[in-house]
Symmetry: C2
């Protein structure tokens, strides 16, 4: 019945026309929302560090130029996805010539602010704090560890990766004087909210939070949370899926 209207009088063409126009307008609207707006989608932002990592790896292997297809195979992302992602930030490649790896690294590095030489402090010099202080990839990405703080007198005064551990009561003066950009929090949950407030009040620019609690700080101070157990739970999900699949296959074989 619904199809009948296509054959009534000369509505057919009109109706088709209206549909085409409507779809075109919708499509244009979606494209405009996606690309023309300055706001880069969360998923794209999250992918940039991964691109950066892979491209650095290529440069280490002395690979200077790569096609979006080759990059796509390597990263397990479609080539059109890669082109779309890069389009948010301008034209990085030339049709048929592929991408210049070094140029791409520099551009993505710029977008990510890696060339700003952001300074960081670690608050909490336990095992995790120590592990992060020794994490070379932070330094390789252009970040500079300028201070480590703890409230345990047995640790204060010692050195980790060449950086002296200071008492946490010095933190406000230190952040102000050194214009510290980033604070990495590896504190127990009970202490983390108070410390976040203190850091915000003395002008910290961003927080990398390893504590279980989500922080309540002003929007002007971005926070990235690292929930290690979330990753473990995701892995657990995938293992369960794999076990279920294998069980299904075994049952199929038995029939």
């Amino acid at each position: 019945m619904a199809l009948n209207i296509f054959y009534k009088k000369d509505c057919t063409n009109h109706a088709t026309y209206v549909i085409i126009i409507t779809i075109a307008l919708l499509k244009r609207q979606v494209c405009a929302m996606e690309n023309n707006s300055k706001k880069v989608p969360e998923v794209v932002i999250k992918r940039l560090p991964r691109y950066y990592r892979y491209l650095r790896e290529l440069l280490n292997q002395d690979i200077r130029r790569i096609s979006s297809n080759a990059l796509s195979n390597m990263m397990n992302v479609t080539a059109s996805q890669i082109r779309q992602d890069f389009n948010y930030f301008g034209e990085f490649g030339q049709q048929g010539y592929g991408y210049n790896v070094k140029y791409l690294i520099d551009e993505i590095g710029n977008i990510l602010g890696l060339n700003d030489g952001d300074t960081m402090i670690i608050v909490g010099a336990g095992n995790l704090g120590r592990a992060l202080a020794n994490h070379n990839s932070f330094i390789k990405r252009g970040f500079k560890l300028v201070g480590i703080f703890d409230n345990d007198n047995r640790i204060v005064g010692s050195s980790i990766h060449g950086v002296r551990v200071r008492p946490d009561m010095e933190i406000e003066d230190f952040v102000r004087e050194n214009k510290v950009d980033i604070a990495i929090l590896t504190l127990p949950r009970a202490a983390v909210h108070d410390m976040a407030n203190r850091l915000v009040s003395c002008g910290i620019k961003g927080i990398l939070n390893f504590s279980y609690s989500e922080l309540d700080v002003p929007d002007s101070v971005p926070v990235e949370n690292v929930h290690l157990s979330d990753t473990l739970m995701t892995l657990s999900y995938r293992i369960k899926q794999q076990k279920d699949n294998e069980q299904d296959n075994t049952e199929d074989d038995g029939q």
Copy 2:
């Protein structure tokens, strides 16, 4: 001109009808693609641990029932997103009554395989390995640390969080005998590929990889990579955006 066709003869109603039908069919198709397929999208899987975390937090505060709106406000996700996500796994709530928190935790825990009591070993007893061995939230999620391995004789034989550090040459026998599910790798980059192969050959079910390198193991062994510097780069991006915004505002004020 395009609008004119709406007023020609009695095409108006037909055209509108066709548009409504087309949109409805498109919408149904999208819904079918999204919900009827058994494959749960990556983004939904990634959100499950976060739901789990928030719901556990609610239960700790003795909150037994929550509406999708309240959960939405708390988690900064739209209520319709929450309903859509949960729909992948069946009906968790009752219209107007909200969700039973305890029931939801159990169900999501089941989906994530947290009730399977997965066993895990840590390979690499450096600072990061130690930090993870002491990470209580792993245990709270139902995972059981059964072994720690290292090749440094000065560490082998000592105990971390009540678990003895063993020499890494014992790893194959241990994984086989104890049917270990998960290996957490906190090894230097140079050692990680060889270790991953050894673990796969003795039947490990999944790997949580903290090493910089992406592993090349069979699809049947899921791997989750934790790239700590990716999170730091994302934070750097947000700080840069914030600085750019502030600069724009200052320039605007100055004009």
